[in-house]
Symmetry: C2
Subunit: 353 residues, 2 copies
């Protein structure tokens, strides 16, 4: 159809993790919280429901102020999005002019390319090295046309991470006119001592945007609340590009309540640590190659076509993610579930491999 | 800041209707449903809340199928947005290339200009004529660069409407390569026999997109659910530009339930008809100029600075909308409320005029 913008006709379709329709099936495909949503969040959601006829607060002031307190920042250092996906689009909309370049690591989250192309930008892909983001190669890919760099920490889908010294050394080399987006969707799960502290990075580097989400750690993927932390002069243009009422009203209330649900968050982290070891042991005993993770999922090399394998798993009640669309046709990504969910996954894996 | 895209630095800030912080105050500023949200919608929202850790259905299949049934269309004729605002952005993203023109009636909803500028398009403004959209002037504004035309029916903020014969005659003159967006956010309130039936327009004209919303009639402004009806070949590129998980999961369930809440909808329409007459009588007895409305709000010419007047009303507990940002500095827009709300507004209006 000749009507369509050229950039749009080149877009690839997004490939989501599959949600099973069978209620007895389990979903370990989208890195959702295996305990469900934070109970405090759900109470707040239900309480807010009765005022759903009222438009949401355009500025999401209350949630931004709570986040500001939590990070020791001011509210004008924060923008809330309809998921961090929307903030990625705000970023290219605010900063990326036609034909400017965005450097993106290969085999990463597909939205970085998507939002770049939507704005007529040019994605410049840099290969991973040993399943890690190769910062030397990213630096070498910078040209006079580079406007954005997208990094993920920890990296999805490999689970590897960029330690603070390596990341800071890289950032100090990046020209100030280039914005570096660090997507920290899984940062709350990172347990290594040298995992970077976002707020410290923002203090040192004026051109950094940190993306966070309520979808994973807080268990609110269905509510679509993400946020970005950056200097106020970076946040201001993002606020300018945002649609006025972009975040659902009860979702704002739920996210704010989730922030304070310490018990749920502790339980989530404890389970993730234990589940990680449970799955590592199983993979070891099966002789499977996998990558140590800083996130709530594990990359496993199954050395056979992953799409067909995951369809077979799905038909037996376990949804996991084939990494074909990420460029790893023989690897899977399994979300760390509860002990029982992990056991069910392991048993099925043994039966089918 | 030199980093920002040129289009973004030219954007105007959105001016929302004010939500009073005082719980005893009433809000007649944003055309929200005075009965609150549809009770069936709220039940569905609460029921869906417990599964908020799961990503929403990317395709919103269930809601689209219900809407398809309601309109006698197929689901591929429908796209769901995070409010119809988001669909407006999908439309410019899918169709409007840099420097192409969008024809927009002056004194209308500000988002049409906003989404046009975000995509580097050029808004071409056409004045209203006797407070009505002037279709002859719109047709005359078409050039070789025109890609989009934005109409609103009924019109916000005047409440006037385009009758079916006038609109159809206009559409039959518009070249097929130009997409005509008809924003029907308030169409459910229209009571005139010659108000167009959207589905009939779609049958006759392949280049029409009809926008609808759950924010007004269904009372779900806080949940952000809008939709568009168009031919499948127009909907397909919109689906391509949309962020994967753009509509909150419980909100999808709530919208679907609201569709079937016949009792709530009848009550809403009955109240709107009665409230309209109640307000007309009051304005008549006060000798105020107003415009007969097809929507759930009334445009009133108060012949004094509206911003200051509305601030004064607000400080006495009634929030209404000054139309200064719409280009009518001496007019207000009042949403039709319940009988009691209307009485409170009328009493205060009498006291302050």
């Amino acid at each position: 159809m000749g009507l369509i913008r050229k950039a749009v006709s080149q877009l690839k379709d997004y490939v989501p993790g599959k949600t099973p329709s069978d209620p007895k099936a389990i979903k370990l495909a989208s890195n959702e919280n295996p305990f469900g949503p934070s109970p405090k969040a759900i109470d707040a959601l239900k309480k807010a429901a009765d005022r759903s006829q009222v438009y949401p607060d355009q500025q999401a002031r209350s949630l931004r102020e709570e986040l500001a307190k939590a990070f020791g920042l001011t509210a004008d250092s924060i923008v809330i999005g309809n998921g961090s996906d929307e903030i990625m689009l705000m970023i290219t909309t605010a900063f990326l002019s036609a034909d400017e370049e965005a450097v993106i690591c290969q085999n990463s989250f597909s939205l970085y390319e998507f939002v770049t192309r939507l704005l007529d930008g040019r994605p410049v892909f840099v290969p991973l090295k040993n399943n890690r983001q190769d910062l030397a190669a990213v630096a070498a890919a910078i040209t006079a046309k580079t406007k954005l760099i997208f990094l993920t920490n920890p990296h999805n889908p490999t689970g590897t991470y960029l330690p603070v010294t390596e990341l800071a050394a890289f950032l100090s080399k990046v020209p100030k006119e280039i914005i570096v987006v660090i997507d920290e969707a899984y940062a709350e799960f990172a347990s290594s001592a040298d995992f970077p502290k976002s707020v410290e990075l923002l203090k040192l580097f004026a051109n950094v945007i940190v993306l966070r989400t309520f979808s994973k750690y807080y268990g609110l993927a269905g509510l679509r609340v993400g946020y970005a932390l950056a200097r106020p002069e970076i946040i201001a243009p993002l606020l300018k590009t945002k649609l006025p009422f972009n975040v659902n009203r009860p979702a704002q209330a739920a996210a704010e309540a989730a922030l304070g649900d310490k018990r749920f968050l502790e339980k989530t982290l404890k389970n993730n640590g234990e589940g990680k070891n449970q799955l590592y042991s199983a993979f070891d005993s099966l002789g499977l190659e996998y990558i140590k993770t800083e996130a709530n999922f594990i990359f496993v090399n199954i050395k056979k076509p992953a799409t067909a394998f995951c369809q077979e798993m799905m038909s037996r009640g376990v949804s996991i993610r084939p990494l074909t669309s990420f460029g790893f046709p023989e690897a899977i990504r399994v979300s760390i579930g509860t002990k029982d969910q992990n056991n069910r996954f392991i048993a099925l894996l043994k039966a089918l491999l």
